[in-house]
């Protein structure tokens, strides 16, 4: 016990140096640069449209990172990320619109619900081998989509029109922007930290060799579920924030296609990087806006997706970063 306290004290004393070293490192410097940049955006423009694009990107970043944590680090590929996104979205939306909750308490409830559902769905699907896990989660998404659209259940589930006219987090887009930004930063810090501590090591062992992990004395079932509920927690956070940005939600949110978006964004940035999901999300959303006037965005995306899957297993982030890293090294004279 004493040695652990000693350890902790040593770590706390080291922190400022650790921080300095990190910023000097390439990845750290780049991250700080981007984060500062994001903080400055509302000073450059207060147009709800532009802020909205950034907000959507940040929301998707959290969403995509939540998938990456589960798939890239624990090796469990789920096609059901949209389930938690959507469920939390519906709950937050309905609490905001019909029950006049404050945004943060609605959000907490939405996240809690996501975690509970994550526990159930994880319990069912995590027992299945890879493709079946993907299938099972995909199918649950489909069933939710259909069930929420049923006109018979309209009184409780709002039917295929969903909920609209959801009150925003704040009348000012700028305030909403900063809330989402801060929540995104916190989410990423948490998720990245998880991958670096012992829990992350256990997760990766399950990814690399689940039987081997079990043979090393790890309760793989327990840790798979922990990973699943962490993932569903952040997906739920993203869903709740989405509904506050979008002001509306409908059953289409449960489509496997949306779960797929998380995958695409993570793949764009590099699977198993967490931070890559942010880059992937921004690229995804910005590209979608640029392309919107030229052609049907979905069509373009489907082409891009096939190309990515077919040719880039590493993600764009890695090779782009490598070139930037060489540039950075020259800059600081290494």
């Amino acid at each position: 016990m004493k040695s652990r306290v000693k350890n902790l004290n040593a770590k706390i004393k080291e922190f400022p140096n650790y921080l300095k070293d990190w910023i000097k490192s390439f990845k750290g410097g780049l991250t700080v640069f981007c984060v500062i940049g994001l903080f400055l955006i509302p000073l450059i423009t207060t147009s709800p449209y532009f802020l909205g694009i950034f907000m959507l990107s940040m929301i998707y970043a959290i969403f995509s990172a939540s998938w990456d944590l589960l798939a890239g680090f624990v090796g469990k590929v789920s096609f059901g990320q949209a389930i938690f996104f959507g469920l939390s979205g519906y709950i937050v939306g309905s609490l905001l619109k019909f029950n006049n909750y404050i945004w943060w308490s609605a959000l907490i409830i939405g996240i809690t619900f996501s975690v509970l559902i994550g526990l159930i769905i994880g319990g069912i699907t995590l027992r299945l081998k890879g493709p079946y896990l993907a299938l099972g989660t995909m199918v649950i998404g489909i069933i939710l989509q259909k069930v929420f659209a049923l006109y018979q259940l309209k009184p409780i589930l709002y039917g295929d029109q969903g909920i609209s006219g959801i009150p925003p987090l704040s009348s000012s887009s700028v305030v909403t922007y900063y809330v989402i930004l801060i929540l995104m930063i916190i989410s990423f810090i948490i998720m990245i930290k998880i991958t670096k501590i012992n829990l992350g090591t256990i997760f990766r062992s399950i990814r690399d060799d689940e039987t081997g992990a079990e043979a090393s004395g790890i309760n793989t079932v327990k840790y798979k579920i922990i990973a699943f509920i962490i993932s569903s927690c952040f997906a739920g956070l993203a869903g709740g924030l989405f509904v506050m940005y979008n002001r509306a939600i409908n059953p289409l949110v449960f489509q496997p296609l949306y779960s797929f978006y998380a995958l695409v964004m993570a793949a764009l940035g590099g699977i198993a990087t967490i931070s890559g999901s942010a880059l992937g999300a921004f690229i995804f959303v910005f590209l979608g806006e640029i392309v919107r006037d030229l052609a049907d965005p979905l069509f373009i995306f489907s082409i891009i997706l096939i190309l990515i899957v077919r040719f880039a297993s590493e993600g764009i982030l890695r090779s782009a970063l490598e070139r930037l890293r060489d540039f950075w090294d020259i800059l600081i004279g290494r």
């Binding site: 012992n198 060799d209 992990a213 043979a215 090393s216 790890i218």
Partner: protein, 246 residues
């Protein structure tokens, strides 16, 4: 000394094939026992059954007085029984240090490792198997001999009382096998009970104090290595199938 492992009438059937047939034996604390039998005799199945990776159709497995039959593998590890695999299993995209660290993060391993600091403890284990200079390397580029060492390091991380080694010399040159032999001997001297299967028997027969022989899922005989090596049925089982023996 005391019995550490009791296997009673263990049977495992697959559709049409009986892999293990009414198999019984005991292992005393501190022993060094070998399990021999030609290819397909059922040795790995026995290991799978003891370590919980497969459930027997009937029979009991008792470790330190606890009935571990059909328990989940990780629970059995945390009670003190660790097994290695015939084909080395490693976490391919993690460093050697992390590979051992995972074992140290098991409930049982953690209890011991915590007092030294988990990373330090894992390093020490790596050092004890002679791999500490490769701590930051992933297993993918290691030669087979080192992988076998890693395997033992990973097993050590769980602080086992009983170590089940499934063909630990498989695929090794004589020099490499010698290195592993020394490691295992030291382990045993430190108090770990070792139960080992072997197919190439040269190293095994010199290491173990007692040998259990099996063929086609059934118990044949047991006794000191010299005796078993000269047992008629055992010889037939091996030579009759054209297997290498000594």
């Amino acid at each position: 000394m005391g019995v550490i492992l009791e296997v009673k009438s263990l049977t495992k059937k697959y559709s049409g094939l009986t892999a293990v047939n009414d198999f019984s034996f005991e292992i005393q604390k501190g022993e060094f026992v070998g399990l021999i039998g030609p290819n397909g005799a059922g040795k790995t199945t026995i290991f799978n059954l003891i370590s919980g990776f497969e459930k027997p159709n009937s029979g009991k497995i008792i470790f330190n007085g606890i009935n571990i039959t059909g328990m989940k593998p990780y629970k059995i590890v945390n009670l003190g029984v660790t097994r290695t695999f015939q084909l080395v299993r490693a976490f391919k995209f993690m460093t050697l240090l992390d590979n051992v660290k995972v074992s140290c993060l098991s409930k049982r391993g953690k209890k011991l490792a915590q007092d030294y600091g988990i990373d330090e403890y894992a390093s020490t284990i790596l050092a004890s198997v002679g791999l500490v200079d490769k701590a930051r390397i992933p297993p993918v580029i290691l030669p087979h001999g080192d992988l076998r060492k890693l395997q033992i390091g990973k097993a050590l991380g769980t602080n086992p009382q009983l170590l089940l080694l499934d063909e630990p010399f498989s695929g090794l040159s004589h020099e490499e096998a010698q290195g592993i032999t020394d490691l295992i001997k030291k382990l045993h001297d430190d108090g770990v009970t070792v139960f080992m299967t072997g197919h190439v028997l040269r190293e095994l027969m010199h290491l173990v104090h007692r040998v259990i022989a099996m063929h086609q899922g059934k118990f044949i005989t047991e006794g000191p290595p010299r005796e078993v090596a000269n047992n008629k049925i055992v010889l037939e089982a091996y030579l009759g199938r054209g297997e290498k023996f000594a």
